[in-house]
């Protein structure tokens, strides 16, 4: 009974951020920056505390509970509740979202202080935290939902917040519309994915008669035996939703552009939490995927292809955030591939560690960007503070940022014993034992990951400064660096969550995901991945630490030739989409607008109006204002009526 009371706290993980954003909405501007930042951080921090309490309670009752809050929709036999599901999987997600979220909120207090001044609109400070709290609330709805429909509310909510925050400086960017275009692109690409998810949900409702996870998954085996085609359709349409939200091939194109948002947004939404929603959804629906091997192989190949494809692009990017964005896509590919192989625990494990070190890397990149901005002279518009070609040697000016960045980069590259090593290794081991083809692709992607991180480290932190701004860069304040240090600690220790042999996370999640065969620690695989990581980093170091002429020319450009040009231009995927889908669609829209709408539809309406007007023009001639005319007409009319009456 006591734990029942504890579990009833769960709605507060959604309410607390909502309260925080309401306070900021009403009073934030009045009480200033520190008030807004503190309220928002406190709201998220308290949500984290609630999540911890839930986790502790769950340790004693690992079977979990569902806490109903209200009836939502009742139509005929369909009843959808607004109910929160507390189980080991959802609580893990809550901890990650609110934990990393809190650190990013604190970081934003310092970061946005500079950002709003750099961009020249201090009034937007509060708005940022309102959006951030709204995002946390939506994300909490997503992960704590106990049915597909409620989850979809959170799914769309985080998409909305993503749109709002990418377009936070909506009047900035290329041609003054670059940022808003990026926001629209993210929203529309996600819409395509959401269409897939919606179709999957409709199919689930028609065939299962319910949206609730328990009811649906318990029938999954029976339905699969009955209608295998339907299950294949559900899983594949769901995968389309995942490719949208989790930035997989072919819908990943929005994520690199999403870097137009402020850096904490990139860290929170586009690296640590929102983009992992797709992985969460597939883990939650693992019961489906287990039953449809065809869908599983599609999922894992999509993931593996994305992992490698994005990694190749990341190698040739110059924007510090773009490298991390493609790296995120690549790492999400690892997770999706893991879930596709049935290694859901490995996928979730990588999701958690990735949230730590990629959140860290993005925040540290933000610190670097602002350091360079501080180094820029007044009126210096030639320097792009995100361009790695204009950095170099920053480790001397920003030692704290350098060290945490190094930790994050090593964790991402998979150097033992940092977090990324264990989680990535678990995925690679799963591939090794079941899917050799996938293993090769992922190992190649892991090698490139290490390579581009080595390249980035050298370009940003080592060598000589390649611009005045980089020379004048200064270290960030404690409010910015403290969250970085905490995240660095987590990136170091994150591997402890699921150490080989202990399998803490695995035993924790098996209450929800069911008993899965514990991943074996394969020494050979660990050795291969470690060697690949060291090789990648070393190669990056060797190639990029050599003296470089000014202006910076990538040494790989000569060596790889057209291959590098392809990677530099993101394999022209955006151009391909523009040529194949976007431009034909725009041409069609223009056709519908110009000849069809203006030419046909408007003419029908306009013709009717003109006809009525012409008729009225004729009729008003009768009204000439002469009384005798009216008199005569009356006379004639009366005569006519009387004649008619007499004759009948």
């Amino acid at each position: 009974m006591e734990s029942g009371l504890t579990f009833n706290l769960v709605p507060w993980v959604v309410f607390l951020p909502l309260i925080g954003l309401s306070i900021n909405l009403l009073f934030g501007r009045k009480f200033g920056e520190s008030f807004s930042g503190t309220v928002a951080s406190l709201a998220t921090g308290l949500a984290f505390v609630v999540s911890v309490i839930l986790a502790v309670a769950l340790a004693n009752h690992p079977e979990g509970v569902t806490v109903p809050l209200a009836d939502w929709i009742t139509i005929g036999s369909l009843t959808v509740r607004w109910a929160f599901r507390v189980d080991t999987l959802s609580v893990v997600m809550m901890l990650v979202v609110s934990g990393v979220g809190t650190l990013i909120h604190i970081y934003s207090i310092g970061y946005m202080h500079n950002d709003v001044r750099h961009n020249g609109d201090e009034g937007r400070y509060t708005r940022f935290f309102v959006f951030l709290n709204l995002f946390i609330a939506a994300m909490m709805i997503l992960v704590s939902a106990d049915n597909f429909l409620m989850m979809f509310v959170g799914w769309e909510g985080v998409g909305l917040c993503s749109y709002l925050l990418i377009g936070f400086w909506f009047e900035k960017g290329k041609n003054g519309t670059g940022n808003s275009e990026a926001a629209k692109k993210a929203f529309i690409a996600n819409r395509i994915g959401d269409f897939g998810l919606l179709i999957a949900m409709f199919l689930i409702f028609v065939n299962f008669g319910s949206f609730e996870f328990d009811a649906v998954f318990s029938q999954a085996a029976a339905i699969t035996a009955d209608k295998p085609g339907v299950m294949l359709a559900i899983t594949l349409f769901m995968l389309l939703g995942v490719t949208g939200k989790s930035a997989q091939l072919p819908l990943y194109v929005w994520l690199p552009d999403a870097m137009a948002g402020p850096t904490p947004v990139s860290a929170l939404i586009h690296a640590a939490t929102m983009v992992t929603a797709g992985v969460y959804l597939m883990t939650r629906s693992a019961a489906f995927y287990m039953l449809v091997p065809n869908a599983q192989s599609v999922v894992m190949w999509v993931g593996a292809a994305t992992a490698l494809f994005a990694a190749t692009i990341a190698v040739a990017q110059y924007d510090i955030k773009k490298v991390l964005a493609y790296s995120t896509i690549s790492q999400l590919g690892f997770m999706v591939a893991a879930v596709g192989m049935g290694a859901t625990v490995a996928g979730m494990f990588h999701l958690i560690t990735h949230a730590f070190f990629k959140g860290l890397l993005f925040l540290a990149a933000g610190s670097v960007i602002q350091g360079v901005e501080r180094g820029m002279h007044h009126g210096d518009h030639g320097t792009d503070p995100q361009d790695m070609r204009q950095m170099g040697g920053i480790r001397k000016q920003m030692p704290v940022t350098f060290w945490v960045y190094l930790i994050g980069a090593l964790a991402l590259s998979g150097i033992a014993p940092l977090a990324g090593f264990f989680s990535k290794d678990e995925i690679l081991a799963a591939a090794w034992t079941s899917q050799p083809g996938i293993f090769i692709v992922l190992a190649l992607a892991a090698f490139m990951t290490a390579f581009y991180m080595g390249r980035q480290l050298v370009m940003v932190f080592f060598g000589d400064a390649r611009s005045e701004a980089a020379k004048g860069a200064t270290e960030s304040k404690l409010v910015v660096t403290l969250p970085l240090m905490i995240l660095a600690g987590l990136s170091v220790l994150g591997g402890l969550l699921n150490l080989p042999g202990l399998h803490t996370l695995e035993h924790w999640l098996e209450h929800t995901l069911g008993k899965v065969e514990p991943a074996h620690f394969v020494w050979l695989v660990a050795g291969i991945s470690l060697v690949l990581a060291l090789l990648g980093l070393g190669l990056g170091w060797m190639i990029y630490s050599r003296k470089n002429e000014k202006p910076f020319v990538d040494p790989l450009k000569k060596a790889l030739g057209p291959l590098f040009t392809g990677m530099e231009n993101k394999w022209w995927v955006d151009e391909l989409y523009a040529a194949v889908i976007l431009n034909p669609y725009k041409a069609f829209a223009h056709f519908m607008a110009e000849p069809v709408d203006l030419g046909v539809i408007d003419r029908i309406g306009g013709g009717l109006a003109a006809g009525t007007r012409a008729m009225a023009e004729g009729l008003r001639k009768l009204e000439n204002g002469y009384i005798r005319t009216y008199g005569l007409l009356m006379l004639l009319g009366l005569t006519a009526i009387l004649t008619w009456l007499f004759l009948h």
């Binding site: 008003r620 001639k621 009768l622 009204e623 000439n624 204002g625 002469y626 009384i627 005798r628």
Partner: protein
Amino acid sequence: MIPIAYPLSLAAILFIIGIIGFLLRKNAIVIFMCLELMFNAANLVFITFSNYYQLIDGQVFVVFVMTVAAAEVAVGLALMVAIFRTKHSIDIDQMNSLKG
């Protein structure tokens, strides 16, 4: 007893004179007088038939018509005075500001 055709013919002649006057004249006062002519032509027809059928209804009606006509003239003349004050004319053809 004069034949019924005589007063009816007189009434018809009066009515036609009234109509022609109404349609052709410009002076508002004259148009009023033409209206009165038409009223009285109608009244004459009432009286004639009242006498012919020996019924009192027609005579009652005449009294009503005369009352209403008096009221109408009072309102109409008042309008004429008002129009004359603003336009300095009672030419009916100039009162056409509502034409289409």
